[in-house]
Symmetry: C2
Subunit: 595 residues, 2 copies
């Protein structure tokens, strides 16, 4: 395979695209792999398409090796199945919806749980037909509020989605394990570092769920790890709750005047003045902060939620949203407060919140607290009156929340929930996600089979996704430097980039011969045969494009040598022309290319 | 490659789907290759996807061999480029339109002329960059009024679309010729009979245009052929116009009473009574029939058009629509006539039609005539009064139409426009379409390059489409019998179908060994290893699925023989078990499979 740059549909760019924040976006565009067609929607150019095909092939091969069977669903789907499972509504504005000429409702599928469920229902009827795992590599749509980072958060993207169908829970565990193993093989073959973390299942529903993250500082996902091996997406971290305490001897709460105590820091300072503690100075962790959010359900319903948490912590809105999904959360605004005059801004306390404390005939504002706020803990918190706080307010005695919520930020050094040590935080790109969906979709769509006793049982499902285009971007993040891309050999659009420099006809002829010979030998070759392009530009392009082995045929030819370098800078050697082919082929073989 | 039917995701159906009119639709669904997801929208099951991948591979290989470079555009596209070329409106209700969460207009692309044009504009700027031909194999959308015939007229389908870009007309001719050659190679490799016919270019615009049709009685397209080699889509047939005649000696027109002459047959009979000709009896071809249509433009504007044609011909609405594209045509209705009281239904004559005849200050009803209605021809036609016709009305003397139109039906025996003999009519499936688009899109979107003199010139383009999923359906139409599909070996989902019959463990073991050995030797094998399924059902499934070589391992095994048959019925032979593998491999090789 020989691509001549004189005719290849490629123009590299010297300037970064204006909207590019991350390296993969910047470099894939500059190197002419992709091109923006609309926000979050990209066109694949020849070099990009070659890399994508190689990534897809690895994903497909490992899926088949794991026993999954390939199918292909439409992207344009009718509303009904998504209505039956509630996702038509739950997806909210993230779903692209449209009508056909007969005014029937359609959508562009974000994932295909419903369609796979209905297909299996259509064809299968007995436990003997199971297990089956089906997959597709297909174009997906999601109307992201903020498409960004090129391929990392797009609105049209390629996904591998797989679904397993089993008659019982043990079967689901086995299917899940097989997919999990396949994912490990896929990311290993791709040469992509990954971390497997516990995850929440979001709008999908279901129980066990893990994410495969490619660790990188520019990742959108934050995850935690402990020395003892705990790993979780930050949304999935659970807070170890202390044991409830006795409050038999706790003093009664006292209301104190706290003028100008609008922040936790100010409150702590004021308390040290007006109500100093006997044992030590007040700390932020002694206070109970009550933060008011407005939740919007997918059907548009808006309701308030007050989150109570120790004053030394902030609410992490992503953790909050994971906890209240599919609702979206935002800080309550003036109009929200106007509807609830009982909430005294800056001085809200639990005495006025939640079902247990609601006055007769009055709507309770929902009140959930951080798991650390256990029965018997005493707090300094708002007194629901301007300029006043209360101290010694005891949970379980003076107030009873409506429940707990995981919404407080997780901090480095926090204990892992399984006792495996302090957590460290890092960031990553979500490249895979596997779920035990359970029976949610099968139940909603009536997928049952006869079990061994001839009884109808609901099928249990797993759902397994890989962001294929996103994995390609993660590869670009992992394999680049400030001069350009640096692909692993087996994913690069070519293995060898032959650069002919200078205007000497003999140089071009020699380069041509090397390029053709390599191509004939089965090597994928990119050949820079452009006339009137300076060596400097050619070298810069070679570094930008990222083909692993670069062969320079130029001035040295007069002395009978050419240069063979690695794109990653690990090697550069002058080689006699007569030995060049053998040297290059050996180098390519050493890179472990799968041809 | 070994697929075991005991676990393959496949269920064949005994019943035809209720909506299936044609064999490909019926059999692809019954054989479990595809499954309907919505009207005109299909899911690909494992066997179907395998065939589709093989068809795609051939298309891709020949495109690359012809020098085209592969890219991949999004299906979801912004409105603006399609607005610039007018297609946002011209496509009318055939376009799937939607809005994103910011209320921006998007569409699901029916073809990608605009995007390719903009991409080349983005990257290229000089004649030296050209020619370039780009292609993609991609999912397309068209909101058909009447999706039907399974894959033959769908709303989501796979197309190969290619576009050539040249600096001048000679370049376009060469690019067009290269694609035309590639198309011949593709359809030949697919094993699909085809006819190349002259075509109209429809909503695409442009000049030279040819269709590749797969001849079959169930085809939606009608085409004509002459003994001398003329071939055209019926919409593209031009009518040889006779020479204009002198009307110096023609008698003046006479109005005659023609009661109850509501049809052409009745009129001819009445004229023989009330105004007999001296030379011979009146014939339908002596009359001028004026048929009133309402045209709806894509922007919704509705206007009347009267088509005048010899009374022995009917209007062919598909030809009419090709002539008035992008407008749609339907017979005028009561409300249309109500707005034009000058049109006397059943007695409309050209004296009241067209610009030339319009009374002062009155809107003319547009009047176009068949090319046979040349100056000097005399006609019997309506007199624009109830119960009255006029005879001897001479074109060019007594009336002047607004122009001519190709809207009359073409009939077997009509002369070919190039004088190459009488036409015969046949039907076919449009599997490919190649256009010389010319400069329409480049002009609209500003795609110019510097020419050899440093002057900006508008680029000229070609557009080349293959309906990939439709070609697969055409293959099923061409290769089936009443028992099922019968794929050519190189496109079949497997080359060998091993059927184990009976309950004998030795039979299953022997069949297994053959299946595994073939698979190890690189043959694609479908192995019917299902227990508790009768031989009859297995044989019926083998005939339905259409794998070319069927190997039956059953009762004969006790005598040391198995049976090797062709799916097409051309051969069936008992072979000794020891020779079976060699025999099967030889048979597969003889089928010319490309593995």
């Amino acid at each position: 395979m020989l691509m001549r740059m004189s005719s290849l549909f490629l123009r590299t760019l010297r300037e970064d695209p204006a909207d590019a924040e991350v390296a993969s976006h910047r470099l894939l565009v500059r190197a002419g792999y992709i091109r923006r067609a609309a926000p979050g929607i990209y066109t694949w150019l020849p070099l990009g398409l070659r890399v994508l095909a190689k990534v897809e092939r690895i994903v497909r091969e490992e899926m088949v090796a794991a026993g999954a069977q390939e199918v292909h669903f439409p992207a344009l789907l009718p509303r009904e199945p998504y209505e039956a499972t509630g996702r038509w509504t739950e997806y909210g504005p993230n779903l692209f919806r449209l009508k056909d000429r007969k005014e029937a409702d359609y959508l562009l599928a974000p994932t295909h749980e419903e369609m796979f469920t209905l297909l299996v229902k259509d064809l299968y009827s007995s436990y003997k037909d199971l297990p089956v795992t089906l997959f597709q590599i297909q174009t997906k749509y999601r109307d992201e509020a903020r498409p960004r980072a090129g391929l990392l958060r797009g609105r049209e993207f390629v996904m591998k989605d797989a679904y397993s169908f089993d008659a019982d829970d043990a079967g689901l565990d086995a299917s899940y394990a097989a997919q999990r193993d396949a994912y490990e093989r896929i990311f290993t073959r791709l040469g992509l570092d990954y971390v497997i973390v516990a995850a929440t299942s979001g709008a999908m529903g279901g129980s066990r769920s893990e994410e495969f993250l490619s660790p990188t500082a520019i990742g959108e996902d934050t995850f935690v790890r402990s020395p003892g091996g705990y790993a979780a997406n930050v949304e999935a971290v659970t807070t170890p709750a202390p044991e409830p305490m006795s409050f038999a001897d706790a003093p009664a709460p006292t209301v104190v005047d706290t003028p100008d105590a609008g922040t936790i820091d100010a409150l702590v300072a004021v308390l040290d003045q007006v109500a100093p503690r006997a044992d030590r100075a007040w700390q932020a962790a002694d206070t109970l902060k009550n933060v008011v959010f407005a939740l919007t359900q997918p059907d548009g319903t808006r309701e308030l939620l007050v989150v109570g948490l120790p004053g030394d912590r902030d609410v992490d809105v992503k953790r909050l949203e994971a906890a209240v999904a599919p609702a979206e959360a935002e800080p309550a605004g003036d109009s929200d407060f106007a509807k609830h005059p009982g909430l005294v801004r800056g001085y809200i306390g639990p005495q006025a919140l939640g079902q247990a404390q609601a006055a007769e005939g009055q709507d309770a504002v929902r009140y959930l607290v951080d798991p650390r706020v256990v029965s018997g803990t005493a707090w300094a918190t708002g007194a629901n009156a301007d300029g006043k706080h209360v101290i010694g307010l005891v949970a379980g005695r003076d107030f009873t929340p409506d429940g707990t919520i995981e919404a407080a930020e997780v901090r480095a050094g926090d204990p892992a929930p399984d006792g495996s040590g302090p957590l460290e935080l890092a960031r990553g790109i979500e490249i895979g996600h596997i779920f035990q969906l359970g029976r949610k979709y099968a139940e909603a769509l009536g997928l049952k089979v006869l079990d061994v006793h001839g009884k109808q049982v609901v099928v249990t499902m797993g759902s397994y996704g890989i962001g294929v285009t996103r994995a390609l971007a993660a590869l670009a993040e992992a394999h680049h430097d400030d001069r350009g891309l640096a692909w692993p050999a087996h994913l690069a659009p070519a293995q060898v980039h032959v650069v002919a420099t200078g205007k000497d006809a003999a140089v071009l002829a020699a380069a041509e011969q090397i390029a053709v010979s390599l191509s004939d030998a089965g090597v994928e070759v990119l050949f820079d045969d452009r006339l009137k392009v300076s060596p400097g530009v050619k070298f810069a392009d070679a570094e930008l494009l990222g083909v692993p082995v670069v062969v320079v045929v130029g001035r040295g030819l007069a002395e009978g040598v050419i240069e063979v370098r690695s794109r990653d800078g690990s090697e550069a050697r002058q080689v006699g022309v007569d030995l060049a082919l053998a040297e290059i082929e050996q180098r390519v073989a050493a890179l472990g290319t799968q041809r």
